[in-house]
């Protein structure tokens, strides 16, 4: 399964993921009464989430937990704290009427890594598929599976919610290109590639179905990347290209998702170490 990550690789992953969290921390953006309680907030805690001191407190605790996580000090506790803080921040923001999925993958990784540490503590060292020989390796093994499950769930939801008609209707996705990038060139802000895509999709709907359908296939078959290290790299690269194309042509960025693919799937420190016999 390609789960023989070295200590230096694991350290690089932790540092890079810590940096990604620091860059992407949403914070509690909106203050005051929750107008549309979402997720966990529907069942309580609304007064806590609307508390005016929450933004400052969550930011302070986030920074402490982040330092502990990257330094490898009390990692399970740091992971639990980071997960709770992200859940509070994302739930508070989403409860003002705008659910933002851009931060969900970070939560998946925090939960997966926490689960990996707990499973290793409970079951002891193992040889897979649930628990590996060390807790940090188990945490990364759970991480890549959690990320693959996220993509697969997204693809399956498209198939089921559309009654198997997603590929047939996919040319209408150019509406997102029109909405996010504009339907006409503006002075100094032209989007020639997006405009060409809109034009081409209108003229060749069959080709548009093949292109968008390929994206759906990538999502649903994401777990195939879990075979070994090289399938992880290959899966990471194609999913990165998938996101980049979505940004270029549909205006859907998902920058944090791309960064996570680079850290845990493409794993650049590992690739850089190959000419020197690995790291």
């Amino acid at each position: 399964m390609g789960t023989d990550w070295g200590d230096l690789e694991l350290l690089c992953m932790r540092a890079l993921f810590g940096w990604a969290m620091l860059r992407g921390f949403p914070g509690v953006l909106r203050r005051g009464e929750l107008t549309h309680p979402a997720g966990w907030a529907r069942w309580g805690g609304q007064r806590l989430l609307a508390n005016p001191v929450l933004p400052g407190v969550t930011r302070f605790l986030f920074e402490i937990a982040l330092v502990a996580y990257v330094a490898g000090l009390g990692e399970p506790v740091a992971l639990g704290a980071l997960l709770a803080i992200w859940a509070i921040a994302v739930t508070a923001n989403s409860s003002h009427g705008a659910v933002n999925h851009g931060h969900y993958l970070t939560g998946v990784i925090l939960a997966a890594q926490l689960g990996g540490w707990v499973a290793h503590a409970v079951a002891g060292a193992g040889t897979g598929p649930v628990v590996l020989d060390t807790a940090p390796k188990t945490a990364v093994w759970w991480t890549v599976q959690g990320v693959a499950a996220t993509y697969a769930a997204s693809g399956i939801a498209k198939v089921i919610d559309s009654g198997f008609g997603w590929i047939a209707r996919s040319p209408s996705l150019v509406l997102y290109a029109a909405a996010n990038l504009g339907t006409r060139p503006r002075a100094g802000a032209g989007r020639p590639r997006a405009l060409r895509l809109i034009d081409a999709a209108g003229r060749h709907p069959g080709m548009a179905r093949i292109v968008f359908g390929a994206g759906l296939v990538l999502e649903i078959l994401a777990p195939l990347s879990l075979f070994n290290r090289w399938t992880l790299v290959a899966g990471g690269v194609v999913l990165w290209i998938f996101h980049r194309a979505n940004q270029e042509f549909l205006g859907l960025a998902f920058g944090q998702y791309r960064m996570i693919l680079v850290i845990y799937f493409i794993n650049i420190p590992y690739l850089l170490g190959l000419p020197f016999g690995g790291i």
Binding site: V99, G107, Q145, A149, I160, I167, T183
Partner: protein, 188 residues
Amino acid sequence: MGASDLVLLAVAVVLIGGCAIIAVAGGRPRFSPGARAAVLVLLGVGAVAALVLGSAIPVFCAALAANLTVGRLELYPLSAYTMFADTRDHIRRIAIETPDGSPVSGAAAFGVNEVELFKRFNTEVAVDGDLVRTSVVLARLLDDARAAAGLPEPLAASQLVLCEYRLVEGRPVESRSPLGEPFGAAAG
């Protein structure tokens, strides 16, 4: 890869193949909400069964099952990621523009980006479909966010604009209409 993983792979191929066949045949089937939920729960149960039967990727199975079932409730970090699932022939967005039609950055001028503004618009419209009430709510949201971020008063007469996009013969056609009063009009 165990036998249960091969079954998972077969299910994935059936999902993709079914979608592709309907695309080629030109059909437009739809599931009722009940049938949709039932299929998702069935797939979730199948993923759990694969886990129990000794999948080589047990965490994948558990996470997939959780996303497809309880993820529908958006219990962070679980989600079914349905945002681009139901493709439509008509979508909308919200823009902020000056009287001459130049775009105003919501993030720079109010501390609220247009994506968040649009999601809030959708949430409010879903309550009662009242665009006038929705425009008042959005204007108040922008004003509160601007004050909280310590940003200056918005450019006089800049305004929210509702942009609608429809597919006409395969091409998107845009229509625009002002949403509510220009900023500063109420105070004036």
